[in-house]
Symmetry: C2
Subunit: 301 residues, 2 copies
């Protein structure tokens, strides 16, 4: 229990979702390491892809991620890969996420350092994306990945697609990797007491960024057929700037015009403590509250 | 970052609030120890008393607390002690508080183990109190401490005040110590937009346990003269059973009958994460949410 421990999360996506032995070999890079904790990993056979969630102190995490990337390059051959999920490399994307006592700037630097080492060690072209992007066109992962593995050879020749690190030729079996930095995503859904999908869709359009809503909210309407209701299904891409309670209250207000009520909401997967503490502080009207007052925040220093 | 780390808090009160050197000597027992973290300590000259807040894994915490008690017994002479705060010993009270992955039962056992070792090692009579009490009369610390240091010699002779551990004679310079177990206290105040103290007092009476209110709430009305408002000042003695949002909403309802509104609330000092997560979950109507979804809860496993 040292002083103000820095914690970063990494959610690398590997292009292997079927061969359990290979997946274990990659994931083992995160096991038994000091100051690194494997939180979760899952695979999808249709996507033929594995997603790992790991947290750790920056230097230790960096070493473990580089080790895992090396293992993935060794066991995955993209010339034989097929799956439903878009992908351009054996190690498709490696986002770093600031969790505690770490700024986005430091997280971007960590992403850059990993990109630099990995590109040199494995002769792998690397694009930096999202907050680590070196130009606006590279912020969006979909744009970076466009053309996928099969099209990368050609894409790298285009003047605007010179990789940020590594050779201008794709790795023969591992393709290209995107390394980035982003805020934690919160998958947040609000359930409505109607079965009319168009109402959820309309509300989603009103609250999401792209169509005029809140800056860090993506969303769409979804039917929950078993329950006979619909939901506004969202990804909150920066809960520190677009608070959960704000989108919740806004959906409540929008739902009113259809005579519809919120029946509840749900967080899918993990959520940073601060997103919920902030929500509690809003509803209780807490004055002068700081995160340092949360006992667990002190425990993790 | 091991597996489901157990964390207990201890808030020992020492009868020394003036001699900084002695206080440091006691507090040093909590410094530089593996799996023990000193969170805070403060002293009060008028009370002539120091309060330490420390957390740790049970065995490590136990050893550090016993060491601190030994140091306090060595440096504090109660025959020369005077101060405004009631006290019966050099180490007046030692409450243990379950924080993470620890039950109250385990916490009581830890208190018993500390009491047993300390009583044997230092020849100190010990009463167990609150959740560790061996009879209902010993639950309330004020009752246990009644008579204070000066009256302990006589008190120990009474048949109903045989100590739970240690000799039936008080320690000549260290007196008697109370060791106990309790839930974390949350100091929670709700501010009203009126300057009428009687309204805060009436509301406090309605919401606090003793006069018919919520089971784990103590409270009274307080004037905030500088702001020209009043507040319902409370101690929540078990936030897992009497939730913060419940008392907040109840105060809102009670305030209505006086045409008064809540202007805000405040948490004084520290609060367990769960108390605020539970509050957020209530207001967002979160379905199927578990504490394991909070990223920081996973980090501390």
């Amino acid at each position: 229990m040292g002083d103000k421990k820095k914690i970063v999360q990494c959610v690398p996506n590997f292009s292997e979702g079927r061969d359990l032995q290979k997946i274990e070999e990659i994931v083992n890079a995160f096991r038994g390491k000091e100051a690194v904790k494997l939180l979760d990993y899952s695979r999808d056979e249709d996507h033929n892809r594995a997603v790992v969630t790991v947290v750790g102190e920056p230097e230790a995490l960096k070493a473990a991620v580089i080790e895992a990337i090396g293992r993935a390059i060794k066991v995955i051959d993209m010339t034989e890969h097929e799956g439903q999920h878009p992908r351009m490399g054996a190690v498709d994307v490696v986002p770093f996420i600031p969790i505690r006592n770490v700024t986005m700037e430091e997280t971007v630097k960590l992403a850059q350092a990993v990109a630099k080492e990995v590109s040199a060690e494995f002769n792998l072209p690397i694009f930096l994306y999202e907050k680590a992007a070196t130009s606006p066109e590279r912020e969006n992962l979909a744009k970076v990945r466009k053309g996928q593995f099969e099209g990368m050879s050609e894409k790298l020749k285009q003047p605007e697609w010179q990789p940020d690190f590594g050779p201008r030729e794709m790795h023969p079996t591992a393709g290209v990797t995107a390394v980035g930095a982003r805020m934690p995503l919160v998958a947040y859904n609000v359930n409505l007491d109607t079965d009319k999908l168009e109402i959820a869709d309309k509300i989603a359009k009103n609250v999401r960024h792209i169509s005029g809503g809140l800056r860090y909210c993506k969303g769409m309407g979804v039917e929950l057929k078993e329950r006979g209701i619909v939901q506004v299904s969202m990804n909150m891409t920066d809960y520190t700037k677009t608070a959960l309670y704000r989108v919740f209250e806004l959906i409540k207000i929008e739902a009113k015009r259809y005579g519809v009520n919120i029946v509840g909401s749900e967080i899918v997967g993990s959520v940073p403590m601060e997103a919920l503490v902030d929500t509690a502080a809003y509803y209780l009207g807490l004055e002068d509250f700081t995160m340092e007052q949360v006992l667990e925040a002190r425990l993790m220093e």
